[in-house]
């Protein structure tokens, strides 16, 4: 841009502003410049008017667009759409925090599992995680060497079909060495919750006609875990619709209670108590491999101790250790894979 052109440009801009403001413009001496100003004046006077029909149609179209936009903005769907994102973020955050809390806090896990247990049987990965420790009852404190267990004062379930048998009085004083008063009716379940496959002693007692005996002494580190639930005998064959004949005598639920004890290493001991109607059946010896049976005594009563177990391939001498004895129409079996005769006998002789 040369200086003269720049000067002409600035002059033209000023004159154009005057022209557009309908103000007089000084006549130029240069004819060419004057012709340019005249052309600019003509251009400034040229004006296009939009056709009235076009103007009104476009107005209606734009107003309709605005109306639809306002309706969209106020519609519940629009409001929900605007809230969807924050709600989603809040829900995800809450879920993450809740999950983290369950991982971190055993108390929270116990609370959730307890709450869920009111509705359904809890069977979730949370069951694999340790729950909050229950406050230890003084009655469940384990004395090193000879753990003591409180004797529950649980009455057998009334059975109209069979009269109550003569069982030891619930008020029977515990054996010497037991530090628990006899009026302690609740079996203290220390530290470990029963798994979902076990039931409480009270629940098991309600299913059998005889009084379930419990040992007052346990091997070191062992605790009561629960009772294996005894299945109910169905009155009809499942999934067939076949009903038992009306004149068929009612079949009794097996009168068996299997109490599970375990230590922190996972070693288990099972006490099986089975009521029989014929005391003679208790004299049947345990099936055992040759030379594996020892005749011993429990509280002066004859008993059998067996080391080994029958397997599909034959007798396994390294299998369970089982102590079997009987008293008052009850056959007792105390079984463990790790405990041997002395430990099992000590437990057996502490059973009330």
């Amino acid at each position: 841009m040369n200086p003269s052109e720049k000067a002409d440009g600035e002059r033209f801009a000023k004159d154009l502003d005057l022209l557009l403001a309908n103000k007089p413009v000084a006549k130029a001496e240069d004819d060419h410049y004057e012709a340019d100003i005249a052309l600019a004046r003509f251009l400034s006077q040229a004006h296009f008017e939009p056709a009235p029909l076009f103007e009104s149609r476009l107005r209606g179209k734009l107003q309709d667009h605005l109306y639809k936009r306002e309706v969209r903005t106020m519609s519940p769907l629009s409001v929900l759409r605007s809230l969807a994102r924050p709600l989603l973020v809040a829900s995800l955050s809450a879920a993450i925090l809740f999950t983290a809390l369950l991982f971190v806090s055993p108390d929270a896990r116990a609370a959730v599992q307890g709450w869920a247990g009111h509705f359904v049987e809890v069977d979730s990965p949370w069951a694999l995680l340790p729950l909050a420790k229950q406050p230890q009852s003084p009655a469940s404190e384990v004395v090193p060497g000879t753990a003591k267990l409180a004797v529950p004062d649980v009455q057998p379930a009334p059975n109209p079909r069979s009269p109550a048998k003569q069982l030891p009085s619930p008020g029977t004083p515990p054996k010497p060495g037991s530090e628990v008063a006899p009026e302690v009716a609740q079996l203290a379940v220390p530290n470990v919750q029963p798994t979902r496959n076990l039931i409480s002693l009270e629940a098991a007692q309600a299913k059998v006609d005889f009084k379930i005996r419990v040992p007052s002494t346990l091997p070191k580190g062992y605790k009561f875990m629960g009772v294996v639930p005894t299945p109910e005998l169905p009155s009809s064959l499942p999934n067939t619709g076949i009903q038992a004949p009306a004149d068929l005598p009612a079949q009794k639920t097996p009168q068996v209670a299997m109490l599970i004890f375990a230590n922190s290493a996972g070693d288990q001991m099972m006490l099986s108590e089975m009521q029989v109607s014929e005391p003679a059946s208790l004299d049947v010896p345990l099936p055992a491999g040759k030379g594996s049976v020892q005749n011993v005594t429990v509280n002066g009563q004859a008993a059998q101790y067996v080391e080994g177990i029958w397997t599909p391939t034959g007798w396994d001498a390294n299998g369970n250790h089982q102590l079997h004895w009987a008293a008052e129409n009850i056959g007792f079996d105390l079984i463990s894979r790790t405990l041997k005769l002395d430990d099992l006998k000590a437990v057996a002789e502490s059973i009330q």
Binding site: E5, D8, E10, L39, A46, F48, F54, L58, Q63
Partner: protein, 189 residues
Amino acid sequence: MEQVVPIKAKTAQVQTLSLDRTTFEGFYSTYLPKVYNYVCYRVGDEKTAEDITAEIFMRALTHLDTYKSNRGAFSTWLFSIAHNHVVNYLRTKSRQPEVHSLDAVASITANNVAPEQAAIQSEQWRQVQAAMRELPEQQQEILALKFGVGLSNQEIAHAMKLKPNHIGVLLYRAVHALRSVLEVKEAMK
């Protein structure tokens, strides 16, 4: 250019515009003649100008929330939309705009002009329109923004992304070039 669209404060520095059916009329009556005039200057055909003007207004309404006051005046924003639509149209059609029909020329108005004078002006305008098509794109644009819309040099500079002090010279060149084309066409008759 006056602000006819209500401004909704968003931050201390940046403002956006709000438009509803009650404030629409001011916006429409102010900008429709200017946009329509601009498009007529650029495309030279009344029917095409109506279509493009409608598209420009619809786009402006749809994207009104994208306007930020810190980026320039509202008129600049609106005419940048108009410019893009016109350029797209000219590029798509790849043809020279048609000159005005007689009916369209008749709509070129001057207040209280006698019928004979109006006919002469219409004929002159037809010649000017034809000559304008001979000019480069930038000169057509600057003439349309200045005479069709009536933007200030500052607004033209912002809309065309040019330096404000160059606009006077560019306008002078455009008018001078237009007159030269008209003289050549007159000489060829």
